[in-house]
Symmetry: C3
Subunit: 279 residues, 3 copies
Amino acid sequence: MRSKQASRLLEQVREQKPLVHNITNTVVANFTANGLLAMGASPVMANAEQEADEMAKQADALVLNLGTLNDAQIEAMAKAGRAANEKGIPVVLDPVGAGATIYRTNAAHKLLNELKITLVRGNAAEISAIAGLDSDIRGVDASRGEYNVESIAVYAAKNVQASAIAVTGERDAVADKHDVYTIYNGNSMLSKVTGTGCLASSVIAAFLSVSDKLTEGAASALGYYGIAAQKASAYTNGQGPGTFQIQLLNALYRIDEIDFKQQLHIEREIVNRGGALHE
Amino acid sequence: MRSKQASRLLEQVREQKPLVHNITNTVVANFTANGLLAMGASPVMANAEQEADEMAKQADALVLNLGTLNDAQIEAMAKAGRAANEKGIPVVLDPVGAGATIYRTNAAHKLLNELKITLVRGNAAEISAIAGLDSDIRGVDASRGEYNVESIAVYAAKNVQASAIAVTGERDAVADKHDVYTIYNGNSMLSKVTGTGCLASSVIAAFLSVSDKLTEGAASALGYYGIAAQKASAYTNGQGPGTFQIQLLNALYRIDEIDFKQQLHIEREIVNRGGALHE
Amino acid sequence: MRSKQASRLLEQVREQKPLVHNITNTVVANFTANGLLAMGASPVMANAEQEADEMAKQADALVLNLGTLNDAQIEAMAKAGRAANEKGIPVVLDPVGAGATIYRTNAAHKLLNELKITLVRGNAAEISAIAGLDSDIRGVDASRGEYNVESIAVYAAKNVQASAIAVTGERDAVADKHDVYTIYNGNSMLSKVTGTGCLASSVIAAFLSVSDKLTEGAASALGYYGIAAQKASAYTNGQGPGTFQIQLLNALYRIDEIDFKQQLHIEREIVNRGGALHE
């Protein structure tokens, strides 16, 4: 993929400051809001059933994150999602810990059934769980294995009621029924900071709010996020995950066109009719 | 204003370590507690209806923040507020997102009606919303416009059931029916970190707990906070909002009398009978 | 105590990546998760009653933290605790603010009565409160006095229904009915960052999940945590509590065998029959 389109999307986010409404978990809410601010978007966190739809109607994108779930929050998500669908803004679902407990898996399916979800982002184990693939889930953390993220994304894009799927990990993949993008940008320190996956979902939502191409927009967002992780790792210089977390926010803020040009590494393949990857 | 009084209030906070009870949103709770600790106050976060009043009775100041509202929290705020009023400690209301949804605006009005609020702090859009001024609110973020913060504060001080009003933004203003203070200290990076407004409200509450002059105490608090932002920006040296957030906590901790002397910039005007500013 | 055993426990945590299930408060959830990740454990935060037991059954240790309590959370804690007891994994109770409100004290006693608690960690005032010792509690912050942490730990180990007690402060003490360990590692900046006590409880839980000796395991955890605080203070170099918070995460990540060898300072005494310390 050419870096120009991806960096143009970031520019648009910074110019338009899209309002990204997050109904998310209490662990990552602060980090997510700061990440969105750092990239140039406008975060709003509003969980109450009483205002979820009114807030979503003002937003440019909606993120539903199942991290610290409860019944009231599922209801708020459904209401906000319906409002977002009516308005036609992108809705990103982050099924944190799907597969780890029945409660979470059911909540994910309920939202996928009731709403028009634009994109689901999760790790390999979470996406496998909601797509009905065998998986080995432990807590909300995927067991560290070697996953073929592209195959999981393609399979899920065929079998999950969402327009596109993003699977993140050592490599990331974004697929719909036609294309699959592999994103090679990223850094292993992302796994040492809580909420980096959740923030990736919100970064995708911000990009989708200014993009008219779904998978390309999402892949660009993950490329940007991966470059930020690479820069953050360089700034961190081995000090540790505390510093990396702070430098990730700095990098999201500072990345420019030249960084995209020098570092973006995304490849695209076409999905054949059977759902497998084209050789 | 003379810097000596303002810096004396900070000293008193550091000596007396006032207990500031915050019923606040899940996004900023950690940052608020750390900011209060850094300045030398003692934070306590306790949201449950079952203990809100008992906790407020032990506190030296109470902060009610509408950031991530729900019905149980409104009830806890009302209970804590009544206990605080009985005890006679300052109660600061932060109407996050007032005007953005009916639910938030109504909650703000309910608390203003039922409680004796010492001071309301918000951005120009939020204060305009609760004062019934025309405003342009989008999410919980004020549209960035050129506001006359002094006029909004003066208008709200006449029309909102609270003893004083603080409007924060590029400049800050604190008004009651008699005086209006303009605070010129501050830094634009404050708008790149979530919860900096919420923390300002809690810093005001800490100052009010040791001050016997309301508007002067609140203006001193915002002067201190603005100086901290200026120092944090200098320490940050362009690295980005991640670093700024950390340096703001450091600056709140390190500011001393000399910083006040060199940097405090607050001016006071008298409000005339019609509510307009005296020329 | 010899540093080798303590550093071996940290190695085991890093190798086995125990899943530590935290039902904790919204103020410290992010910091706790990041601290556990930094040390090499796997955090999971799941508060809902509907999944608390299912999640606890997958965990290697459970932490129940009363920081921002409500009725639903107490119920979730009881469910998770029963599941943890059935599975036989360590359950650490952190009675934040016990003694400060009746609601918190009652919740602590309810959990102590209904569950088999492996260890309770609190500051001197909190542990005194649940053990029925006179105490001077103000908010959730212990009044700063000179405490004999060893005596409080020994008294509580006799009088509280838990297998062991940890009292943290300037010095830390860990006791059961037979032994009491004093941990001399630590740094005063810990009191300037919110959630450092809560994180200590989760670090203990991680160590207990890989240790077959209760008090020795807990003392090792606090020694490790104290060394991390000392290193963080050195890295911070007087910049302030913002930087210290970040450097504490870095230190948890970077500490190795040599740090234990050079800095661990733990002493053990035998408790005599009357419950007093052996001379």
